[in-house]
Amino acid sequence: MSKDLTDLKVQKEVLIEGNPTFETITDNVSRVVEKKPGKIWYILFTISGSLTLMLFGILAFLFWEGTGIWGLNNPVGWGWAIVNFVWWVGIGHAGTLISAILFLLRQRWRTSINRFAEAMTIFAVICALLFPAIHVGRIWVIYWVFPIPNQMGMWPNFRSPLLWDTFAVSTYFTCSLLFWYVGLIPDLATLRDRATDKIKKIMYGIFSLGWRGGNKQWKHYELAYLVLAGISTPLVLSVHSIVSTDFATSLIPGWHTTIFPPYFVAGAIFSGFAMVMTLSLIARKAFDLEHVFTPKVLERMNIIMLLTGTMVGYAYSMEFFIAWYSGSEVERFAFINRAFGPYAWAYWIMISCNVISPQLFWFKKLRNSIPVMFIVSIVINIGMWFERFVIVVTLSRDYLPSSWDYYSPTIFDIGIYIGSFGLFFTLFLLFLRYLPMVAMSEVKGVLPEADPHHGGGH
């Protein structure tokens, strides 16, 4: 295989610290899955499991009573459900981005975090998909949004951005799931081979699809992985663009702007990286994987957050400029109202979290400080939630002041949001427990030993 300059350059860097061997990598990662989980895992699982049960409880009540249990009202037809949907979809962006785009760009530092990030994507998208489904008034006919042939000859309305959403998010979910699963196959085979009890052997055996690690298999595998990466990459850009059209194609002041697609994509990457950061810092500590999630990787992620955070900040100011430049009084009002109206508190939380806090990463010392990056990553996700909140509650003051109202959530809005964290973490903890959280086969690929020129002088 010919090697390009990037490869050369990358290999000069030490991507995995501690100078592990193939064996130690396999051991380090597999042992997390193989040994009995610690007390902490059980505690966390109990907490997140309880929150998930609470979520299901509230959902049952919601389906029984109707969406009136939420704080929605006449001007504000969408509330926390849609905020959470956009937020979770945003979070779900980094996984595929890290995996697919960085893979295509031969950014090999991604290997330590890609599995992790992909899993996060899958679970975040599951949480995200929950919301558009449950926010409808009549959940039992939700399947009408799919173009299923029926005796009425009724098709969905292809002009509706909500329909585009249905396709975009479900496509994204399917591709992400496949991409993740294909990447898992060699590692599943490793676990199968190391399995000590029968059930594990059978289960890992089924899902590793008979992987033997043969040359042909690797060849097909890598091609499949490349193709999936190629398919996933445009999806990263399209999903959030399309989600943004829910707002952008409407005629509501503050929603009706063309900047939404790029701004939403930047915001999604921004929040996705922040979430990966938060989770990897925890996992790194909890499972002693400091040598895999190296400071270098973390620093690079911080730089991406700084970049995307600044792009988001630019979008915020551009919105104001265009609102003024458009000459539309109502549009102008909507933005002034965002910053100084009844929801100004939410707006300024958003600005502080999203625009100001990532600026700390200009300083090398701060972007290499684990506590700083941990706090900033959480702050960013709070900020990104508020960004979506600010956008959605723009509805509260539109064209006719007679309909203006104030929206505030009920305990059920909050409960479902918290419950969605329960669902996310439950899935995540199960993932940590049963699947290799780091792509062993790929990490091995970036070890110095994997380099044919390892040892030099050949």
């Binding site: 926010h135 909500l162 249905t166 009084e329 002041p401 309909s403």
Partner: protein
């Protein structure tokens, strides 16, 4: 739902929730047939069959229902009744001393909708919110259903036995110890029975009492003319109107006529059309005040002085009064304008003004030569007017124990009599109290006998309207709860026998109908009234001798005004969910009465809206929430009567606060020297519009008449926008019918009749205070209210109204975003809502710039009692939870007209399809019809140069458009120059 009865605040999520509580049922200790079991009760079935029987008997007579008190089995389907085809019957709704002719739509024997009777002089085919909502009162499950003796259930036969004994006693002693408290009426039969009563029981006492009445008006005219007459105002002839605290378009008597006449005087074809001018002097902000061209805000006592000064200036009386500068500056140009329009002006005073003011007003109209022109007078014939003095005399007698039997004929004096009369304690001294009422109310609960009354849609009676026209009250359904009417009860008291109301009424009418009685009677039933029965106008001569000089008008603390509620009136409609949920024209508050004060007064007191305050006056105190209403007179608190009526029904139970304890016989209209204290608590109010200002957006486009004359196209040109082009291939709406609507903001007074008419026609659910507070009101047509002017200067504040319903945009933004195509356009331009297809994403509502879409957040109709379901319009789907709904332009009425037209193989004629809101509108402010018919009314109106599309710049192409609001300012009035609003043209 658990409820704590001691809590100050108590809400329920929906009416149904409240209905479903067991606690409530226990509390009221009244058996209430619940749910579906109801239709199996023999009463409903029997009555239904009775009615069907009547329909059979009626074959051949279209449009009238001959009573036949016989049960006829439904052996053969009657030829006349086609299931699914509604029938219309004429009747009359009596209210106080007024009577409104109505036409009631009946589906297979159950009345569902009320419209005005075009032939009746007091309704002229339109109606108001109270009339529209009264149909719900018929089906109120909380109505009294059982004869009670000291709280124990009895049969009416028991009462008959009881009365037979008493009857002999009172016949023998000429009625000594017998007394009657009756509601006001204007009815030939009731008048005849009253006369008979007086003849049979010469020693008995009769008192007529209504908490809200026109007594001051009649008394004033008596002072001025020495005759018992009532005024009939012709607003359509008046070029200049001065209203002295008269909310003639909404809460005063004969408001439908007044509204129509007033609107006729400002129905502008173009900028050259003549327009009347309304001057308003008032303390509270009323809907009439909102339509005023000039408004002077004074305390009630100051109004008194103002009228005296006006009378003095016009030479009616001589009174030496120094008005404050602001009032004087207002008075001079006003007098000039009035004199210039002598004979074409009209001065009218509200019912809260004293008799003396009404006498002066009569004199002013005399001087201005309006008497006989814009105002005529008819004899008070067959009318029993409320007189507090009579009630005072009666209460004194009761206290001394000289009354042994008291008959309370409707009404609830324990609840609403002046507090200083101490009616409740006086009633304890009476051996036997017989109460008849729709509800087992406070008086009913303390009475010896309580007899359920029948609703006016259930009984036979008659009425005389203001101009004297006699009309008939005919039942649309046999009494649902075996109630007895006042006519039947009074006849029973007089004669000891129970006759049917029908026979009693016919007895009265026999001498009135010339020619063959049966024939004439049928015609009366068909028309609802006796043609040409109006009384000749009375010639009056104004002879006012000496008048008391008005009070000093000095600062004497806060003044409280007791106003009739535009929703629940005096309390008789308190248990009506539609009216409770109707946002007030001025405050936009539903489900409560509030202490309305100006911004300045609130600031002075240091309170804000929703603060719970204590009002003390006349040795009584009431706690209620404060509410800021810009444009209210400073140092004045306006409170609506009729709320806080406990123990009559689930709707009324927690709605508002009872202010009757503050009202005494001498302060029926207003009281001075009120003290206001805080409680440190707040009280949550369900308000549908928090925002006062229009934010300088061109929503309601308004100009003065002068400006309009110079800029006739100001309204459509108020907004500049780039060329409007669509992204899509546009459908050309150029075939068949194309429906459209126009609403005239100049004539609309914001009276809310449209909202209730729509609710009744389209089965719109009642959702309860908490849900209204949550911002989920369901009304398909709402009346937006905005304020303009300086909130600290009450006289400068102007109020504007705008009814908003679905605009049926040709390029509807809601349709584009629905993922399942549940809202789509039809080829007649209707934006249709397919309930069955709707999955409830609410995206359409978000994307609606007018925010007229309404979402069923809960299943609001799930537990609607079976009996309330009888009020539903069978032509309109009842929506379940999770679906969006909105105005359909009354598509069911369009379909009905189409079917009729198709049968005759013709096009629908203009005026054949009348939307419910349009039909109810007393001001004729709403035009609706086929835009393809170039001769149609709606096209004619849309061609006026005031026509503009609200938010037309969004290129949504609304089918509903508005006609800009014009105010006819007098250049010489103070403040008139600055209000020549410069609209960008």
């Amino acid at each position: 739902m658990k409820k704590d009865n001691n809590k100050e605040k108590r809400y329920f999520r929906s009416l149904d929730h409240l209905i479903a509580t067991d606690e409530y049922k226990e509390k009221t200790a009244r058996e209430f047939p619940e749910g579906a079991s109801e239709m199996n009760n023999d009463w409903s079935r029997r009555n239904f069959m009775t009615l069907m029987g009547a329909s059979v008997a009626m074959a051949g007579i279209a449009g009238c229902r001959r009573p036949k008190e016989k049960i006829v089995p439904y052996v053969k389907p009657p030829e006349e009744v086609i299931p699914g085809v509604a029938r219309q019957y004429a009747s009359t709704m009596p209210l106080g001393t007024s009577a409104y002719g109505i036409v009631v739509e009946s589906h297979e024997g159950r009345p569902t909708k009320i419209e005005g009777n075009k032939m009746h002089p007091s309704s002229n085919g339109s109606s108001n919110a109270l009339i529209q909502a009264s149909i719900l009162g018929l089906y109120d499950p909380d109505r009294s259903q059982k004869v009670l003796e000291k709280g124990k259930e009895k049969e009416f036969a028991d009462f008959l036995t009881f009365w037979a004994e008493k009857y002999n006693v009172y016949r023998a002693n000429n009625g000594d110890g017998l007394a009657v408290v009756s509601e006001s009426f204007s009815s030939p039969t009731m008048a005849r029975l009253k006369k008979a009563f007086e003849k049979v029981y010469p020693k008995a006492v009769w008192a007529t009492y209504e908490p809200v009445s026109d007594a001051n008006i009649f008394d004033g005219l008596k002072i001025a003319t020495n005759k018992d007459v009532r005024p009939i105002y012709d607003y359509s002839k008046a070029k200049v109107i001065l209203s002295i605290d008269s909310d003639f378009t909404q809460t005063e008597s004969e408001n439908i006529n007044a509204n129509a006449g007033f609107a006729a005087g400002r129905d502008l074809d173009d900028e050259h059309s003549e327009m009347n001018r309304l001057y308003m002097v008032e303390s509270a902000f009323s809907s009439t005040g909102a339509s005023a061209d000039h408004r002077l805000v004074l305390k009630q006592k100051e109004i008194d002085r103002f009228v005296h000064a006006l009378a003095d200036k016009l030479g009616v009386v001589s009174a030496n009064i120094n008005l404050p500068d602001a009032s004087q500056a207002w008075l001079d140009p006003l007098v000039e304008d009035l004199l210039a329009n002598s004979g074409k002006s009209l001065v009218v005073a509200g019912r809260r003004m004293s008799a003396q003011i009404h006498a002066l007003v009569c004199g002013i109209n005399d001087v201005l030569k309006n008497n006989g022109n814009t105002v005529t007078y008819t004899n008070l014939t067959d009318v029993s007017v409320s007189h507090i003095s009579d009630l005072q005399v009666l209460t004194e007698k009761m206290k001394t124990g000289s009354v042994s039997t008291l008959l309370v004929l409707g009404g609830d004096p324990i609840y609403n009599a002046p507090s200083d009369l101490k009616f409740a304690s006086a009633m304890k001294k009476v051996e036997t109290v017989i109460h008849t009422g729709l509800y087992n109310d406070a008086t009913g609960k303390h009475a010896t006998w309580h007899i359920p009354a029948s609703h006016y849609l259930e009984y036979w009676s008659d009425a005389r309207s203001a101009d004297g026209t006699v009309s008939v009250v005919q039942p649309l359904i046999a009494p649902l709860f075996d109630g007895k009417s006042s006519v039947e009860m009074l006849n029973l008291i007089n004669s000891g026998e129970l006759l049917s109301g029908h026979d009693i009424v016919q007895e009265t009418w026999k001498p009135m109908i010339s020619g063959e009685f049966e024939k004439g009677w049928k015609k009366v039933l068909h028309d609802g009234l006796l043609a040409n029965s109006s009384l000749n106008s009375e010639s009056i001569s104004f002879k006012l001798k000496n008048i008391n000089s008005p009070g000093s008008g000095d600062e004497d603390g806060y003044e409280i005004i007791f106003a009739a509620s535009p929703a629940v009136y005096d309390g008789r409609f308190t248990n009506n969910g539609w009216l409770q949920e109707l946002p007030d024209t001025v405050t936009r508050v539903a489900w409560d009465n509030v202490a309305q004060v100006s911004k300045k007064t609130a600031d002075k007191l240091g309170f804000n809206s929703e603060d719970l305050i204590t009002l003390s006056v006349n040795d009584a105190e009431v706690q209620m929430p404060l509410w800021i209403v810009p444009g209210t007179a400073d140092d004045v608190v306006v409170v609506a009567l009729g709320y806080g009526r406990k123990g009559i029904g689930r709707v009324a139970e927690d709605a508002g606060h009872d202010v009757y304890p503050l009202r005494t016989a001498s302060t029926m209209d207003f009281a001075s020297g009120v003290t206001i204290a805080g409680t440190g608590r707040t009280y949550e109010i369900a308000n549908v519009q928090d925002h006062w200002s229009m934010e300088e957006r061109p929503i309601i486009r308004e100009a003065t008449k002068d400006y309009y004359e110079g800029h006739p196209e100001f309204a459509p040109h108020a907004v500049h926008h780039p060329p409007l082009e669509s992204m899509w291939d546009e459908f050309k709406y150029d075939k068949g019918y194309q429906w459209g609507m126009a609403i005239d903001l100049t004539t609309c007074t914001g009276c809310n009749a449209c909202t209730i008419a729509c609710q009744s026609e389209n089965n719109i659910p009642i959702i309860g205070k908490e849900e209204v507070r949550n911002g989920r009101e369901m009304h398909w047509i709402r009346v937006d209210r905005y304020f303009a002017g300086d909130v600290d200067d009450s006289s400068s504040v102007e109020m504007v109204h705008q009814p908003v319903a679905c605009h049926h945009c040709e390029l509807a933004p809601c349709e584009q975003v629905c993922p399942v195509a549940a809202t789509v356009h039809d080829d007649e331009g209707l934006n249709t809502m397919v309930y069955n297809r709707c999955i409830g994403t609410r995206y359409c509502s978000n994307n609606c710039p007018y925010k007229v879409r309404r979402f069923n957040f809960f299943n609001f109709t799930k537990e609607t009692p079976e009996i309330v379901k009888m009020a539903m319009n069978p032509d309109v789907t009842v929506r379940s939870r999770g679906v969006m709904e909105k105005c359909t332009y009354c598509v069911q009425r369009i379909s009905k007209a189409k079917i009729e037209a198709k049968k005759d193989d013709r096009r629908i004629k203009d005026g054949e399809v009348v939307a419910a809101c349009q039909q109810a509108c007393p001001a004729n402010a709403i035009a609706f019809g086929d835009l393809m018919d170039k001769e149609s009314d709606v096209v004619r109106i849309k061609q006026r140069n005031r026509n503009y599309a609200l938010l037309g710049e969004l290129n949504v192409r609304p089918r509903t458009t508005y006609l800009a609001k014009i105010r006819n300012k007098n250049k010489n009035m103070p403040g008139a120059q600055e209000s020549q609003t410069e609209h960008h043209g």
